[in-house]
Amino acid sequence: MAGHCNLPGKEQQPTTEPDDGTTLTVALAGQPNVGKSTVFNLLTGLSQHVGNWPGKTIERKTGVYHHNGTTIRLVDLPGTYSLTANSPEEVIARDYIIKERPDVVIAVVNAASLERNLYLVAELLPLAQKVVVGLNMVDVAAEEGMRVEPRVLEAALGVPVVPMTASKNRGLRELVETVDRLARGEIEYHPHLPEIRDDHRQVLEAIHALIADCVPEPYPSGWVALKLLEGDGEITAMMRDQCLPPDRWEQVHKILMAHEDAVLAVASGRYDWVGRMIRAAVTRPRAGQITRTERLDRWATHPLWGLLILAAILGVIFWLTFTIGTPLQNLLDTYVIGSLADLASAWLAGAPGWLQGLVVDGILGGMGMVITFLPILVIFFTVLASLEDMGYMARAAYVMDRFMHLMGLHGKSFLPLFLGFGCNVPAVMGTRIIDSRRARLLTILLAPLVPCAARMTVLVFLTPIFFKQAALVAWGLVALSLTVLAVLGVLINKIVLRGERAAFIMELPLYHRPNLRTIGLQVWQNSTEFLRKAGTLILLMSVVVWSLSTLPHGDIQTSYLAAVGRALAPVGALMGLDWRMMVALLTSFVAKENSIATLSILFGDGATSLETALAAALTPTAALAFLVVQMLFIPCVATVAVIRQETGSWRWTLFSLGLLLTISLLGGIVTYQVGSRL
């Protein structure tokens, strides 16, 4: 009977490797904020492979760890609070466990909030072949006054429990050792499974009896019955549309309708089980004891102080950029790129002029210039990764919630937008944490107005050339972007996208000291990603721009690029910008940093520096107009691609582009027209 139900696209993939006892597939599961990525990073280090889950845009990390001749293939499942289909992450995690049957699942739990963390374990135990509980953050729990007795917990659960402090690299060897021994059958495995509450047992059995012979492989039928009772959208649709004969579904549906409250009964049943598991194992702090997190949150989540702290953090990021990033960038530019250019000129002295031009002006002038931005980007990546790792980001979302309400959004939308200061691409992808489609679309639409690190580098490079108070002007332009964002958000919410807001429910993780390794790896991955882009897309673009600026006669003034720029000159004239500045804007569509690369090719004559040439060519008012357009302009092509991917709609993507193009050009024109009359 089970055979009559075939599920398109859900065939079991034969990915399990030959079971000769030397290769294990181990999945890493856990709720958010339990230090799961730290565990994964420590075990796999730089050997990890980052890809996407099939058909999804959610990051899939795998890695390999060797232990006493055993090869452990580690798969990092997305962090999820449960295994009910509330989000794509939860579906991915449970589908992997059900369909790929990993030999062992490591459930990483946070010792400081064990009760809620074991809720996920209650869902994992009936599904996974074997589970090891990694009791992490034992040190954080101790600081909060919580004590967990691992042996007692182990006895209660009937599965191995390994205490560890991943941030200090403690307990990981024991964890791997336990996984290995459990997989070999050297450890007895008798988990005490959670049971449904008595008042719903009969209902569950009735449903189970109706569906048991129709549940497709490899789903456990008891589990499917439970998910139906919980009202799990995915499983309900699967059984209704693909598996159960209509009359059978009618019967099941009738039972389900009579027990709509079952979702809470099932959840309560799991918490009853959790309560029994931890009763003897956990000692809580005395009532009234004030923990570190509480002390810090009195400030960080205060309606006034919280905002000031957030503003101060943003201020520090910009300050670091100006005082450390920019000088470093100049050093790189002068000593590394400059000397390379001299070296190349000398070396290519006998070569044809075009080759010399291509290497020195095209490649080194374009791509080389962009690479010098790396220090500034590293500062951004480091600060953002640290704030995330310390647990601050959720507080930022909390204090911003009231303001996001004005735009019909809530605090969670602030997180992807904040990420946008680093790069708009993860910002658009990060909108996945937002539950309602309406709020997601609006956040995606607004995300490109957050000045990304690349825009910021252009800003930081250009402002000192034209303005004495460069930092002030830069601040003003950032403020302008954010004001446009807010006004646009309020307007769109009022006019285009009316409707109800999604629920705002968010965990505020405990604060903890940042883990240098986690942050370092994050910064490393982001930076290499940037360098790869510089080495491919921006290199290509540099060559293209340089070629277009040289062909057909070897002279910029008569080049193809000049022709395109001159065609746009009427628009540029309204902003006081000549064709070269218009070309710089155009090429920023490929990557924001390209503006500088283009300018340095177009203005470069070998004799004067780009700074001097620009200062001579533009009035400060025109420069300001250029910067206004640059800040509000359509995002780079990578961002546009993810906007299309995440909205699933060309209409939205084009609407977004058209809107930004209009706003930015209007902004530039108004700036110049008003500015030049003052």
């Binding site: 609070y81 449960s82 009910t84 509330n86 400081a112 909030s113 064990l114 009760e115 809620r116 809720y119 996920l120 919580m146 919980e230 009202g231 959208g233 709509e260 979702v263 809470l264 959840a267 309560s268 918490y271 809580r284 997190t293 509480e294 949150d297 989540t301 309606p303 959720a394 979302a397 909390y398 919630d401 009231r402 809530h410 605090g411 539950d435 807001r501 629920a503 705002f504 429910i505 968010m506 965990e507 505020l508 993780p509 405990l510």
Partner: protein, 86 residues
Amino acid sequence: MTLKPTPKNGTTLSAVKSGETVQIQKMQGGHNFLSRLASLGFTPGARLQVVQNYGHGPIIVNVRDTRVALGRGEAAKILVSRPETE
């Protein structure tokens, strides 16, 4: 959409002051909303300590050793009661 505080000592979570400890009686909302609340520790019978409620903006509660931020609208869908003693 707000629940009526029917039983004695009953009220909605959004009306509970900072520092008070209450017990969940009832939760109202769609399957998805309830399921998400449950996975973060909110179930009937669970004890909540309201950490922060300024009377406007989102509130913060402690539930099952976890700090959770909750929008006012969401908090209004959770009916709670104050324990008789303690």
